[in-house]
Structure formats: structure tokens, C-alpha cells
Symmetry: C2
Subunit: 383 residues, 2 copies
Amino acid sequence: MPFEPPEVLLLGPGPSPTSVVVQRAQSLPLLGHLDPAFVPLLDQVQARLRILFGTTNALTLPIAGTGTAGMEALVANLVTRGDRVVVGVHGVFGQRFAEAVRRRAGVVVEVRADFGTALAPDAVVRAIEAGPTSLCCVVHAETSTGVLTDLAPIASAARAAGALFAVDCVTSLAGMELAFDQLGVDAAFSGTQKCLSAPPGLSPVTFSPRALAKAASNPDPVPFYFDTKLLTGYFGPDRAYHYTAPISMIYALAAALDLVFEEGLAARAARHRDAAAALRRGLAVLGLEPLVPTAYATPMLTTIRYPVGIDDRAFRGHVRNVHCIEIGGGLGSLAGKVFRVGLMGHGARLPNVLRALAAFGDALTAAGVRVDLAAALAAARTG
Amino acid sequence: MPFEPPEVLLLGPGPSPTSVVVQRAQSLPLLGHLDPAFVPLLDQVQARLRILFGTTNALTLPIAGTGTAGMEALVANLVTRGDRVVVGVHGVFGQRFAEAVRRRAGVVVEVRADFGTALAPDAVVRAIEAGPTSLCCVVHAETSTGVLTDLAPIASAARAAGALFAVDCVTSLAGMELAFDQLGVDAAFSGTQKCLSAPPGLSPVTFSPRALAKAASNPDPVPFYFDTKLLTGYFGPDRAYHYTAPISMIYALAAALDLVFEEGLAARAARHRDAAAALRRGLAVLGLEPLVPTAYATPMLTTIRYPVGIDDRAFRGHVRNVHCIEIGGGLGSLAGKVFRVGLMGHGARLPNVLRALAAFGDALTAAGVRVDLAAALAAARTG
């Protein structure tokens, strides 16, 4: 019997739901990674990723691997043993960024904020200015908390200090407009399974000429797989063999990019904001409180506090098993205290918001909490 | 307009053609990587990969990345700065293995053989015994030449010397029967796009308890992405988050494994041998000479010398453009001198052999060489 997945609406922190157009693209017959019919598709994918990042960086490509592989690619190329690296840590993905730098023998200066609060840009700026900083790493949209980081002041300070600026935009890419060249971002990585709504397994990355200059002069050897010089061989004009690119995933990414460009990035960003706002209106009626104020919350991911007495496993189990909706639990210090709702890419739509609110209201009812679910749905759909 | 790939028969060194069953599996809707409906599928994939490797190693899993990512995972965990590492180099993939070890600051002792010749096991054994060897790395089926390596004597010598033994089985896995536990292989990596006939983008890897002990005591930090301790978190009994697994690729791999186990590994290995033998019978009639004698040739990949006066680009261009068949060129010192024909997984079938021979005969005719193509096809199909 071939595997038949149950129909689960993916409203967790990723993967997000994919359009049938994207699903179908993966089922097209394979081509070779050097085939003359495949190369123009890869050209187009790379060109469109540049637009999403807001960059003209030549070395912009989908790494074969998850978002974490993209993080490794940045860190491996941009960190030299002993480099002073300032890392913003206000969630699990900031912790991972710092950990990856430490494993490259970088000297990490962590700038911390409590999980769920915003990273104070001036604290990061002070840390950059407090020593000879070679790199600053920040998470743009912290998937573990749903907090958005104000990149501009950090980018300016990094540039002024002669440091490179590297950004984790796993959850923000294609869900909001990015202008990384204008800001002064030197390297960034993302994933396909969030606002791009392609399957997990590719990590779009971009390296500025300044970042590549650092990589080229890095005395520490870079793992073969992530070496920008070797990646440039295949993902540059030569199209020389580096590794066998994941053809069917690139088909899926190309189809997902078709949908992004059909919709337009401004409209897509507005759709994400609208879906998040509808969710928040409904949550308010249900008495469910978001962890993060709208002012610095990510529109694509909303983290919600459990009311006193609501058990995480029971709540998420009810939502998954009775309503067939995946949502995420809390990570790190937030485990058991919050749940996370992703309205990302193809999933960021009012019908999904209403379905999620109905499931949350029912899970509260099952736990003995009285809610006015009709009012919650009405509030969500009437902005 | 959505992308529509031309129909190209993939008879190069990979990717191999996939069954429609595998293609369709990728188009199933996504599940979360921690979903209760997904975990049993992953369990089954891991159990079946163990059978293909011929191992009971608990840590046997598909890494999110290409075969090269699997190589990095082995090297990153098993090499400590200054370790003496013996690497067999008789093709491009042996060179890459050595390069990856060097980038981890291992002290590489290369045991070389000319491209196209077999690695002499006794030379490797002598190199292992010549010093305190911590690791020996060998390519089982060298995709750049089509040479198969005799692993048994090397495995015994490595074990006797207290060294770990790591094998690149990218091209052999699922195309021949492997018994890595019995041989004494401590770690191996493969790819999905060869004899498994799943799309490229995953690397099946396996680590023995001895290999994991080395990794656990490795004083050099391992990149986050490849750390066996963290991989064990998700791919072990805890199923804890490490990264978002490439769901749709794992669907495809599961479907490909269904086909492998339906057919049976012995029958599948015989099919690969039969297809290679049919190809060689036809090539002989066409006057095309394999680079590697059958005695130590890989059945899944055959490397063929160009007759004097035949131009590589023109020949492969004719085969691709007129006959819609992808074959591979020579790599490294063999560039321009040979072409490579993969009859791997779903592709290892007599109709494909006949179609390939027809294309080769026609390409020779186009180059002004007289061939008896009818006799070649007849020779191929009558064993």
C-alpha cells in the first residue's frame, strides 16, 4: 500500500501548506542538473530569489539542505577562528546561530533579550562598537517567539564598524518585502518551507561581494559542501559540477516562485498582515493573549500564551486529532507556556484563520473554558 | 507558463530516471516532520536503509542534502585534527573524500591508482599498517570511472589496526547487495539519485557504534548540521526537533524503497548486472571499448573510451539533442577521452540499453564511422 498522508492543515511554524501547483511540479520527470533545459530554470530561480532578498548579489542560490544548512554555509565561510562575532539571542534560532559560530571557533558576544521580547538594536550596536567586530548575526523573524527584529540600525553600525552583517530570514523571506542591499546585509539564509510555501529541503542563501571577499581570504578551511568558491562553480556562469542539485525540489521552488511573482510581493506581504490581524481579533474574543505586541510581532507567526490551567499537550492534541490542524508548541524557556500559529505563504488566508479559531475555541471548551466562538469568528472576518 | 521538462532518458552518472510511482509520491500533501502520521513512515525508511546497507546500526538515516553532504557528515564526525587518515584515490570521488578530510585538518595518506584501474587492496592495507591510522576512507563504486573496490581486505586491515573504515557507496547502494556489518564498515554514505532511483537531495548515511564513540569523543567541534548527537535527537527514538526534515523527498524515498523491496535486492542486483552485460555485448559490436574490465567494473556505471577521432561534445550533443538521452562525460584526467553510461535503478532495463546503443551507433554514423547497428542490438538482446 503506498503511503497516504492524512489531510492535515499545516498552521505550525513550518512546513507551511503548499499549493497543488507546487506539489505537482515535483512530480515532473527529472532532468540532469547540467541539462540545457534545466539551466534556464535555475537561472530564473536564482534571479527571483535575488528579488525576494532585495539584492543584486551574484551568489544567490538554493543550497541543497534545510534552513540550518544555509546557516552553516554562512558561518563556515564568514567566521575565522578567534573572530569577534556579535550575535543577537532572543530565541532558539539566535541560540543556534551563536552555537554554530562557536563551533567555528568564533568568539561569540551574545546580546540577549528575553524570549518573546524584541532585541534592542542599540544594545547590539553597542556590542558591535565595544570591540573589533568582524561579523554580526541576527535573526530577522524569530520563529521560536514570533518577534521581528529592526535590522536597519544594526546594519548601519555593522557597516560603520567594518563588520559583516548576516541575517537569518528563514521565516520572513517571501512573507514581507526585504531590501537587504539597501540596508547593508552582507549574507542571509532562508528556507523554502515557510512563506515561500515550497517543501522543506532547500535553503535560499545570498552572499554580498564583501562577504565573498571575507570567504576568499578566510584562512580556516571551509567544509567542501558549503565552500562559496565551489558553490560559485555550479551556481555561477560556469555551471560546473559541484554536486547533483536536487532537481525536483528546484522544480517545486520554481513553481512556488511563479505564485509569489504572480501575486506580487507587496500584495503577498499585505495578505500575511491581514491574516495575522484577523487571527488576533479572533483570539482577543476567545481570551487568548498573544505573547508579542503587534508593534514588533512577525505577521507570519503568532505565539499565544496558554490561559492558566490549559495543558499544552491536551490542547495541541485536540487541535491535531479532532480538527486535523498542526500548530507548534513552545521552544526552550517557552515550552508548555505558549503555542505557535503559522499563517505562512499559501496558508495565510482567512478560511484557515477561521478554521484555526474554531479549533482553538473547541479545545478551550473541551478543557471547560466558556468561550463565545461565534463572536470570535465574526470578529476575525470583519476587520 | 509552468515549466515543462523535455522527456530526457537519464542514462548518465545520475540522477537516474524515477518511476512515476516515486514522482507521484512527491506530490502528496505535506505533513509536519513531527506529525504522528509521518513518524512511522520515517521509521520504515530508516529500517529499510539499514537492510540496504546490511547493518543494524541505530543511526541510519537520510541526511537532508546531496551525497556530498553525507560525505561531510562522516568526515566531520570521524576526523580529529592531526588524525592519520588513509584515503584510496583512483577517481574524482576519492579525490573529494581526501579533500574533505584535509579540510578537517586530517593528515591524509593517499593510496593512488590510475583513473580506470582498480585500487590495490594490499596497497591500502600496507598504508593502514604503516602508521597509527585512525580512519580509512574508500569509494566503493567510483562514479567517475566505473571501478568497483574490493572492500573486504581493507575492512579487515582497518579493524585489525584499530582504525575506523568509512565507505562512499553513493553509486552501489540498492544496485548490489551490501553487507557492511559483516565486512566491518563503520560508516557509509550514499545518494538517492543513483540505484535507489529517487530524486537527488537526500544522502542515506549509517554510523556504527564504534563510529559514534569516535564522534562522541571528538575534541574538534562538528558543524551543527552534521553532528551525530543532534541527528540522533531527531532520527533516534526521541524524534526531537533538529531541523525540518525534507518531507516530500522522504515520501519519494519511501516510495522508491517500496519498489526496491517489492523487487528484492538479489533480483535488483541481477537486473543491474544483466543490463550492464547487454550494454557491453552491444558496445563490442559497435567497436566501443569499455575502460574497465568486467572483473572490477561497476555494473551500474560503464565508462567507454572514445574511438580515435570522435569528439566528446559532438558525440554527447548528438545523443542528447537528437536522441534525448543524457549520458555523462569524463571527469578529471578522463575528460574528453571517455563517456559514462549509467544503467541505475529504474533505468537498468534492456529497452534503455537498446535505445542507448541505437543512439551511440547513430552518433558514430554521424561522425563518419561505419557500424553494424542491427547486429549490435541483436547481440545486446540475446545474452
